[in-house]
């Protein structure tokens, strides 16, 4: 550690922009009460977009800040990814927040701030930074989940999420402390180097540390059996936040997992591989089975996301350059799809207050475009062709099978079949069920537009994945230092 640290603050400009945006939003909210609150959403979206564009400046760079965070293509990729996600969430929130929530300034500010946390989770190559970034994201989410103050379900969800999150943090930290103790460092590269030399003196301590880390991160990404907060938080949280949970929170968890496991823990892959395989398999099975019994759309999508986590964890299990690029591709596809689904649900909820599956009865008559968007998203989630889900699942499963986890891929394929049933259940209500009345809802153009863009994204990933796949492949190579 003799050579001087690079403390080039310009590397952090996108995050500074985000911070400034957050403050600006708060400021506008407090100081300019006459501004329509919807405008806050667009200010936030604009700021995020600016930061996104700026962050593209670091394309193909290989730089680091104090060896804590690395501004490489992986980071740039996730910067863009998280910011884009937040843009869509913010836009989708505009009408919802206006209608259902107070304190819009805090709401948007927290979303923007949490994006910083997510980005640093992906960028960090050092445990302390990674942990703190994770807490930044988590804290924001705790607040956002319980944002509907007068809604008892939101409070309850927030409390459960918060307390269990703290509990999981403690487990994670304890695990990290053992890894720190055995490897003697918190830097990924040094941990990797230390483990490369062998863990003979610390067999059990390493295992315990790994188990705790898997558990702690498993909580963040909602893997069974650390998933229990997920359905409750999804159901209790305001709808856009549910979407945010299912997109950014999950993706950030995987970004961290990818960095950590590929950068630091690869030498002990034999130790954790089957741990991850176990929770991957149980997540796929339990998530998809329990989803069969859900009648609340948010809860249904929560369980469905648990199943999806299972698929993605397979990618961690059989971690390699190929699998990680497939995993990233799947993640992009999944997030785009999920955002499309939630955009449609949020827009429909704004108009009708629908939340239960049977509330969606006759959606195709009352809001045909939204129904189509949701249908596309559901088919994509179920892994049907034309849409992102088919391709990304195919490549992910294929990669996993090719990397020695054929049985896991088999479980995934079957679980994926089960998932089709509950997506069809929702589809049926949307298209076959008779609506209570036939009048059409007026849906704001912004939401329609955002939904259409996301739907086109779903098609894009499903039909022309080459550009994205090349990007994720490059990113994965960066991850594995190739």
């Amino acid at each position: 550690m003799s050579d001087a640290l690079n403390l080039d603050y310009s590397l952090l400009i996108p995050e500074y922009i985000l911070g400034a945006v957050a403050v600006l939003v708060l400021f506008v909210d407090i100081m300019m009460p006459k501004v329509r609150k919807e405008a806050l959403a667009y200010i936030a979206a604009g700021g995020l977009l600016l930061a996104l564009v700026v962050s593209l400046g670091w394309l193909d760079s290989e730089d680091n800040f104090a060896r804590l965070i690395y501004i490489d293509d992986f980071t740039t990729f996730f910067r863009c990814f998280f910011m884009a996600t937040s843009i869509f969430i913010v836009i989708a929130s505009a009408h919802f927040v206006e209608k259902n929530l107070r304190n819009p300034g805090e709401y948007y500010a927290l979303i923007v701030i949490s994006t910083i946390g997510a980005i640093y989770m992906a960028a960090a190559r050092e445990l302390i930074t990674a942990y703190i970034a994770l807490e930044l994201l988590s804290f924001s989410l705790y607040v956002l989940v319980s944002f509907a103050k007068r809604d008892v379900r939101s409070n309850e969800a927030g409390m459960k999420y918060m307390l269990l999150g703290a509990f999981a943090s403690a487990l994670l930290l304890y695990g990290i402390s053992f890894i720190y103790g055995t490897a003697g460092s918190t830097s990924y590269a040094e941990i990797s180097a230390a483990f490369e030399a062998g863990t003979s003196g610390f067999t059990l301590a390493t295992l315990l540390g790994l188990a705790l880390i898997v558990a702690g991160l498993g909580f963040k990404v909602a893997a069974v059996p650390f998933h229990m907060w997920t359905p409750d938080a999804y159901e209790g949280a305001p709808l856009p936040i549910t979407a945010y949970l299912s997109a950014t929170s999950k993706a950030a968890g995987f970004a961290l997992l990818l960095r950590l496991f590929s950068g630091a823990l690869m030498p002990v892959i034999d130790d954790w591989q089957f741990m991850v395989a176990t929770i991957a398999a149980t997540s796929m099975v339990v998530g998809n089975l329990v989803a069969l019994q859900q009648h609340n759309v948010k809860r249904l999508l929560a369980y469905s996301s648990i199943g999806q986590v299972g698929y993605m964890l397979m990618g961690i299990t059989a971690l390699s350059v190929e699998v990680s690029s497939a995993l990233l591709l799947h993640m992009i596809g999944y997030v785009i799809t999920n955002l499309a689904a939630f955009t449609a649900i949020i827009a429909y909820n704004n108009a009708s207050g629908a939340e239960k599956v049977h509330d969606f009865r006759g959606m195709s008559d009352r809001a045909p475009l939204l129904a189509a968007i949701l249908a596309v998203a559901l088919f994509s989630l179920a892994g049907m062709p034309l849409f992102a889900g088919f391709l990304t699942k195919f490549i992910l499963f294929q990669s996993v099978a090719d990397n020695g986890f054929y049985w896991l891929a088999a479980v995934a394929v079957v679980a994926s079949l089960v998932s089709l049933y509950y997506y069809l259940y929702l589809l049926r209500e949307m298209y076959v069920g008779e609506p209570p009345e036939r009048t059409r809802f007026r849906i704001p153009l912004v939401l329609q537009g955002s939904g259409v863009v996301l739907t086109l994204g779903v098609f894009f990933v499903g039909l022309y994945p080459a550009p994205l796949f090349e990007i994720t492949d490059d990113v994965s190579r960066v991850l594995f230092g190739g």
Binding site: L5, L7, L12, G19, F65, A66, L68, I69, R102, N103, E106, A109, L110, I113, I116, G117, Y120, I128, T129, I132, A133, E135, L136, F139, S140, Y142, V143, S146, F147, K149, R150, G158, F178, G181, T182, G201, F202, T203, L204, A205, L207, L208
Partner: protein, 165 residues
């Protein structure tokens, strides 16, 4: 057995007993007081580990601020109930699980061959710590400040009464 050892055992005993108190006594206020005790004992560990800064921080932040907030919290959430609570129905399972967990930790600790005699246990002076913290670790520090900001905003936003009617 050196004095240091003896002191360690005493502090450890204190910390553990107090911790047990936290998780077992029925009266919540007593539990909170036990927590303060336990946290103070942990501060003792830090002193043993030659880290006064951390000990001070522990006492100030935890035993001072945190414990106070918690007691406030207890008071505010007491409602009509007596400040006593019974243990949850799953305590036997909890005991088993935590016991097993402790066993696993013990096994892991025993199994490992830690570098026993580190010739150079360094005293970290507050100035060293400060220098490193605000230079090498500035980024996490900044992030933590944002975390605190978030917690602040969140706590205020969520617990305020305004406009509730």
């Amino acid at each position: 057995m050196t004095v240091a050892n003896l002191v360690f055992y005493l502090i450890a005993m204190l910390a553990i007993v107090a911790a047990l108190g936290v998780v077992t006594v029925p009266n919540v206020v007593h539990a909170a007081l036990f927590l303060i005790l336990s946290l103070l004992a942990v501060a003792g560990f830090y002193i043993l580990l030659s880290n006064e800064f951390l000990a001070i921080a522990q006492v100030l932040i935890y035993a001072g601020a945190v414990a106070t907030i918690i007691i406030f919290g207890l008071m505010l959430t007491r409602g009509t109930d007596l400040p006593t609570v019974s243990v949850g129905g799953q305590w036997p399972l909890a005991l088993l699980a935590s016991g097993a967990f402790g066993g696993a930790v013990a096994a892991a600790v025993i199994d490992s061959t830690w570098p026993r005699d580190v010739g150079e246990v360094t005293l970290v002076s507050i100035s060293d710590l400060g220098a490193v913290l605000f230079k090498d670790w500035l980024l996490p520090f900044e992030i933590v400040s944002v975390v605190l900001l978030v917690a602040l905003i969140g706590a205020i936003m969520i617990s305020t009464q305004e406009g509730e009617a």
